[in-house]
Symmetry: C2
């Protein structure tokens, strides 16, 4: 196993500085893309990206409240890690950010979620019809932005994007199917099924970001494939962290209600792992979850039992293991070692947000 090289990492910028640098590169292109839309759609898109409030007034922070832009950063840093220029990967970065926004807007409709990033979700603020349509429009823009890549790589770029879009839809379908399945018994969701879902739901988009970055950065096919694999592993780590935040995250940080995932009966990793055990806590948890609860007292008890049954530790270690695997994949594929160190440090920063 490769340990981070302290000489290189000492000179690499901090994760949040890297994300800010990438955001500065991508935001103008993202705004250009959104300018292609009907004014009514552009207004909703500006809200979606946190550039404006519901009344269309610009937000004072100029949009930093719109999320950390992790996926575009992964595309740009992946291009640099394979020896290319970040600028070459901007269309890929914009495309994955547009797809990410599309999927959040549509998923919030499907899940009935009313809060995201400390604000009303798009459907809650503007209605289901307009939210549905702006999601469609963002997806359309993603496919259009990607046509601005050189003809030599455009077919491969479209392959990456379209395969990811199918994975994403299939992942969301499986996620919705999971909600209807029981917590225990022969019909319960297994760890293997959870893992497949994490690869579709989160790994696909992150793998597309890193794969597109490598492709547009000029990497040969086998390196693109390795960098795609790196993104998928990172996605699994990322999803485990998201699952942890969905139960134990501070609403002041996550911008979502406390115990949101438990209330929605999401089969997240900490719960699936806890229920796979046979400790008294696991038994009590299974009994508690046997009937649906929405009161905070029962959800708090469930969270404590998941922790006691080892689910929290399992998910934390799962995230760390996949993060390490992802970082090793970078080392195996990268040719620009300084850029690779910055990428490795950034993914650690992203995953560590849970701790």
């Amino acid at each position: 196993m490769n340990q981070p090289n302290p000489v290189l990492t000492a000179t690499a910028p901090h994760g949040s500085d890297t994300l800010a640098r990438c955001r500065d590169l991508v935001t103008p292109a993202l705004r250009n893309a959104v300018d292609r839309l009907h004014p009514d759609l552009a207004r909703l898109a500006a809200y979606t990206f946190g550039w404006a409030d519901g009344d269309a007034s610009p937000r004072p922070d100029g949009g930093a409240g719109g999320g950390k832009s992790i996926r575009p950063a992964l595309a740009l840093l992946s291009a640099e890690a394979v020896g290319g220029a970040a600028e070459a990967a901007v269309p890929g970065a914009v495309a994955v950010e547009l797809v990410h926004a599309f999927s959040l807007v549509h998923d919030d409709i499907m899940d009935g979620d009313e809060r995201r990033r400390h604000r009303a979700t798009v459907w809650k603020a503007f209605g289901i019809g307009p939210a549905l349509l702006v999601g469609d429009a963002l997806l359309a823009l993603a496919t259009e932005v990607l046509t601005r890549t050189p003809d030599a790589v455009a077919p491969a770029a479209s392959d990456l994007l379209s395969g990811m879009l199918v994975d994403l839809a299939n992942g969301q379908a499986e996620d919705l199917a999971f909600e209807l399945r029981p917590w225990t018994g022969p019909e319960a969701v297994t760890l293997a099924e959870y893992q497949r879902l994490a690869l579709l739901k989160t790994g696909a988009l992150l793998g597309c970001a890193t794969g597109l970055g490598a492709l547009l950065g000029g990497a040969p096919a086998e390196v693109v494939s390795a960098m795609t694999q790196f993104g998928r592993q990172l996605g699994v780590a990322f999803q485990a962290v998201d699952d942890l935040l969905g139960i134990w995250g501070d609403p002041a940080t996550t911008g979502k209600p406390v115990f949101n995932d438990l209330r929605a009966r999401k089969k997240t990793l900490p719960v699936v792992a806890a229920l796979a055990g046979s400790s008294p806590a696991a038994t009590e948890l299974a009994a508690l979850l046997g009937t649906p609860h929405t009161d905070e007292r029962a959800l708090r008890r469930a969270a404590a039992l998941i922790d006691a049954a080892g689910g929290r530790t399992f998910a934390t270690e799962h995230a760390r293991r996949y993060l390490t695997g992802a970082q090793q994949s970078i080392d195996a594929a990268a040719v620009n070692l300084t850029a690779a160190a910055e990428l490795r440090r950034t993914v650690a920063f992203i995953v560590d947000r849970a701790h």
Copy 2:
């Protein structure tokens, strides 16, 4: 102006036979694409295409109830008209049919329409969340199918598809904005605005079908462009016919409620044209539409006034004029005259469904 050559058209098959031949070519590829989906999504997709009922039992007619597959036929016939093989255009045909299905499913959610093709709409039968997701999945499949085109034409094919998707979203946004605008006064929808909308909402997808067909049929760029233009003109004719059917269509044929568009306050061509006049009928129509009506008696009166004010004749002539223009574009671009005659006859058949 070129008149249809009777020697050629006498040997060309009837429009419905041509549509059936094209459907036979496209359906297996369409089913293959849908097989890529999660079983829950594949079930909804089968309902969408009319292959199965709500309980997933196959329909006795094997799916002929799912629409006439006009867009795939336009792609295949356009490939033949430029001298290529219909088979080469199958990925384009499948892509446009998937996009068409996606847009119907999502538009029905936005418009709140409960009936289509004599059945419950997808959202009405399965719920908004599942309908939203299967729409997304169909769109994802459309982008994926198009990656199966040869690398030499794949970038141009993606350009056509993605530009059309943005047009479609912008058109739907404008359509929704039209519903909120008044029938008369300075804020009323003009004929020029109606025309722009028809090009976005209907012309874009038909132009993509014919353009993709020509591209995959091996045509050079200027012929692809001319064939795209042909599809757009046809789309304008098609939309005018759709508008006529939305008011005077027989529910037994359209599968939608009578006066559906008037009830939804759609600014369709017959109404916009009628209100542009100054006859007593136009004045009475403006007064009647000034307050929203949903009772059939008032809607029937409105339809009669639209007719008396010349809106029905105007839309019928508009459709004929654009159909003629479209047919002339075929003649200017086509190299296979037998195929061109079949295409010309088929588009006349499609547009004539209103009469």
